[in-house]
């Protein structure tokens, strides 16, 4: 970073002058600092309100509970904080400032790396750790010995008259530049390679096969440069899903709390024509070429069969119910568009371990299917499936539907245990809870930025370590003949933070004199 103060404003600037002025301001340390702090502050709103990228349902809920505030915040892009115009402007300006700083510094450093240490100052006594010693050797011996000592400490040494000028710690500035360049590297990788990635979610019920093509996804977000040919060809079949729980008794609430211990999805992967058995676990994603599949959720998909009045099955498939709590009380929607006189829609709850509360309502007390019960409220009318508008499979708009069981209808809700069936009112047909497969929710993520960002991050760390802990310093040794003896002066100059400089000067002086004493003895002997 450029720590020089901005040059004073010149009067009557022309366009180029203004541009230069603005550039200087932007690349000044002060501006970079303010932008950095601004970035920290600008990141806060995104942690206070739900973000569309991380928590889209949270955004919907926020809108419902704050209908007046929502449009204002939405206009300010607060729900997309990290891609908002204002957040992006701050970090882009910061990076422009950073690059404007790195370039001249790199040039400067490249020169410094080739340059000789600068000439010895005329007076050392105003510099750090200035100290004097005497030794009974000649000037040449003293300087030769000092050179050897400095070289051992990896100083670059240059002789000027009867003095040595030494500098070390070029790595400090190199590290500093690497640190800042690697930060640019992270941003550039995300900006360039991020567009080629994609991620999508898919619920797979036991026995079902997911094929990696666009139409198979439940939700899909492509990068900017994504095209369908980038989807690696593979398919995943869920053979089995196993969940292991521990039960902990909570004395305070007198209830049993489930502790998840392990989730394992056993799958069959077909890739390049070859099938193989694999497992997917939390923290152990399944690698599929350059794409990974992550196990992010699981639940039950009760197999529901609907028969018409004649007993012919008009609907028979597993329906994933979305878990609502730790005991997997789950909410699901069944849509039967064909086969009955009117279209049938059902909203229901599934309880893996159902118990009746005092109020009569059901509740699940454990996430394993110890007493699986399905309750359904049925509606009939136009499900709105034929309008060509995509509908969320997990919600049912009941505005245009007539309720036929539960609620105010006077007909009890349908309550089914596993294997049971119940009649729909007025001879419409019947519903059966046929079997209970499980489902997993997989996240399929292709992220070409990973390697670049990881390498850049490690460079950030390496650059940081060297730029903070390698001292960059200059040391000088001046030898003056004084009768039979030589008068030696030592001093140093810190370049950057260097708390140990004074001690280093003292140590050099001590070691030097010690070496010269040995030398003296050796020659006189």
């Amino acid at each position: 970073m450029d720590a020089r103060p901005a040059s004073p404003v010149q009067p009557n600037l022309d366009a180029a002058g203004w541009a230069r002025f603005i550039w200087r301001q932007l690349t000044s340390m002060r501006t970079a600092l303010v932008l950095l702090l601004l970035l920290a502050v600008a990141a806060i709103p995104g942690s206070l309100v739900p973000q569309r990228s991380a928590d889209p349902n949270g955004v919907v809920q926020f809108e419902q509970s704050n209908p007046d505030l929502f449009p204002v915040l939405d206009a300010l892009q607060v729900f997309d904080t990290y891609t908002s115009v204002w957040f992006s402007s701050i970090y882009l300006l910061l990076f422009v400032s950073l690059i404007g700083c790195i370039i001249p510094r790199t040039q400067h450093h490249a020169k410094a790396l080739r340059a000789r240490p600068p000439a010895t100052p005329a007076r050392l006594d105003r510099l750090v750790g200035h100290t004097e010693r005497r030794a009974s050797v000649d000037v040449e011996t003293a300087l030769a010995e000092a050179r050897t000592l400095l070289r051992k400490q990896r100083f670059r040494v240059e002789r000027y008259g009867d003095s040595l000028s030494a500098e070390r710690g070029y790595l400090r500035e190199t590290g500093n530049l690497v640190f800042h360049m690697a930060l640019v590297g992270i941003l550039a990788t995300i900006g360039l390679a991020g567009g080629f990635g994609y991620n999508g979610q898919r619920v797979i019920v036991q026995g079902q096969t997911f094929t990696n093509q666009l139409t198979s996804y439940d939700s899909f977000s492509p990068g900017r440069f994504f095209d369908e040919t980038r989807l690696d060809p593979f398919s995943i079949r869920l053979d089995e899903f196993e969940a292991v729980y521990d039960a902990v008794f909570d004395a305070e609430t007198m209830t049993v709390r489930p502790i998840p211990l392990d989730f394992t999805a056993s799958v069959t992967v077909v890739e390049n024509g070859a099938a193989r058995a694999e497992t997917v676990k939390v923290n152990e994603p399944l690698p599929l070429g350059a794409t990974n599949a992550y196990l992010l959720g699981n639940g039950f998909a009760p197999w529901i069969t609907v028969f018409d009045a004649e007993g012919t099955a008009v609907f028979s498939q597993p329906v994933p119910f979305l878990p609502q709590d730790a005991n997997l009380t789950s909410l699901g929607v069944v849509k039967v568009p064909d086969g009955l006189d009117e279209q049938l829609g059902m909203i229901g709850f599934f309880y893996p371990s159902a118990v009746a509360l005092d109020s009569g309502a059901l509740s699940s007390v454990f996430p394993e299917p110890d007493n699986p019960v399905l309750t359904l409220n049925a509606f009939e009318g136009d499900l709105g499936l034929d309008e060509g508008v995509p509908r969320n499979a997990y919600s049912l708009n009941t505005d245009d539907l007539d309720q036929i069981t539960g609620g105010d209808t006077g007909v009890d809700s349908i309550v089914l245990q596993l294997g049971e069936s119940a009649e729909l009112p007025d001879g419409r047909g019947s519903v059966e809870f046929t079997s209970l497969p499980r489902f997993v929710s997989l996240d399929i993520h292709h992220d070409p930025t990973q390697a670049g960002v990881l390498i850049s991050s490690l460079l950030v760390l390496a650059g940081l370590l060297t730029s903070l802990f390698v001292p960059r310093r200059r040391l000088w040794v001046v030898a003056t003949a004084d009768g039979d003896e030589v008068r030696l002066q030592y001093a140093g100059l810190a370049r950057g933070d260097d708390a140990g400089l004074e001690r280093a000067v003292g140590e050099l002086a001590d070691r030097h004199v010690e070496a010269l004493t040995h030398h003296d003895r050796a020659t006189t002997r």
Partner: protein, 327 residues
């Protein structure tokens, strides 16, 4: 196992008892220093003006010379009283109990003792205390004893009373080697930031006293000069910053494994980023004219406050993926 858990708790309470006495003695030491005539520490050259003019070391300007000479001119004139020695010995004893409590908890749980808020609090405060004790081998900063024992005591009280949960097995998301590395380094970073913030607070008090010639807090005169305190705080904070950077990177690598992406602006990720940015700002502020000294000290204190905020409010009140508080 039940026995080990309660034994661990007994050790926590014992540590708190010992820390309490240690805290009182450390405070007495400071009070005693105020009462006694200050050592002629005022001969120290450091003034706030010095701190603020000595800038731009980063650019290799010659003012760095001024700073460096001045720091050594103000090496601690130790005005410590005999209370300090007793307080420090008790702090060591308290730490031994504290460390024992942490290890017992880990043994009882058959895993690292930092998988929920209570355990993280227990380990992080032990780490803070341990780093404080070890720092003495490098520089005598025992004048921070009241701050550190007070802070540790308060934190231990809060985590045992408000955040305590029984030992339960790890949920699948936490079953990873990264739990050991990522969280351990986070506690280390927190420890260094805590001590750095303590030094920054002392530095601000000292420089205010120098400027305003206030008569209160006379013990401050027995402390090293503001610029020495500043330099010490910086050197601890940069170590914290390196650990924090590592925590952030390790967290991202783990997040890729567990959640399918290395960065997703989860609330905890956001605050980790904010803290990183604040301390990056702090380091740059020291090399900026007019920012070194009081302003950079404030940044370090705000940064540490954000660390505390990240651990408490973000864990409890914000929704996010790091919901492992067990509360």
């Amino acid at each position: 196992m039940e026995n080990l858990v309660s034994l661990s708790l007994v050790a926590v309470y014992s540590a708190m008892g010992v820390y309490t006495i240690s805290f009182i003695l450390f405070t007495l030491d400071l009070a005693k220093r105020s009462a006694e005539r200050p050592v002629p520490a005022a001969a120290q050259t450091s003034t706030v003006a010095d701190v603020q003019t000595s800038t731009a070391a980063g650019a290799g300007s010659t003012t760095a010379v001024l700073e460096a000479t001045e720091v050594t001119a103000t090496e601690p004139s130790n005005g410590a009283t005999r209370y300090q020695r007793a307080a420090f010995a008790l702090a060591v004893l308290g730490f031994a109990l504290h460390l024992g409590a942490t290890i017992l908890r880990g043994v009882a749980a058959e895993r690292v003792p930092w998988a929920n808020m209570f355990e993280f609090g227990l380990t992080a405060t032990a780490m803070g205390m341990g780093v404080f004790l070890l720092v003495q081998f490098w520089k005598d900063v025992r004048y921070l004893g009241a701050y550190i024992t007070g802070f540790t005591l308060l934190s231990l009280g809060i985590v045992t009373v408000n955040f305590y949960v029984d030992v339960v097995p790890l949920p699948p998301a936490l079953q990873s080697a990264w739990l050991v590395i990522h969280v351990l380094v986070a506690t280390l970073a927190t420890a260094f930031f805590a001590i750095g913030a303590g030094l920054s607070i002392m530095q601000l008090l000292r420089s205010q006293r120098e400027v305003r010639k206030v008569n209160a807090l006379r013990f401050l005169d027995t402390l090293p000069g503001a610029s020495t305190l500043e330099s010490l705080a910086y050197r601890l904070n940069v170590v914290g910053f390196v650990f924090w950077t590592f925590t952030l990177i390790a967290g991202a690598i783990w997040a890729e494994r567990a959640w399918g992406r290395y960065w997703g602006w989860d609330t905890k990720e956001v605050w980790t980023f904010i803290i990183w940015t604040l301390f990056a700002g702090y380091i740059h502020a020291r090399a900026t004219r007019g920012w070194r000294g009081d302003r950079s000290a404030w940044l370090a204190i705000i940064g540490f406050s954000a660390v505390i905020f990240n651990y408490t409010i973000v864990n409890i009140a914000f929704t996010g993926l790091h919901s492992y508080s067990g509360l």
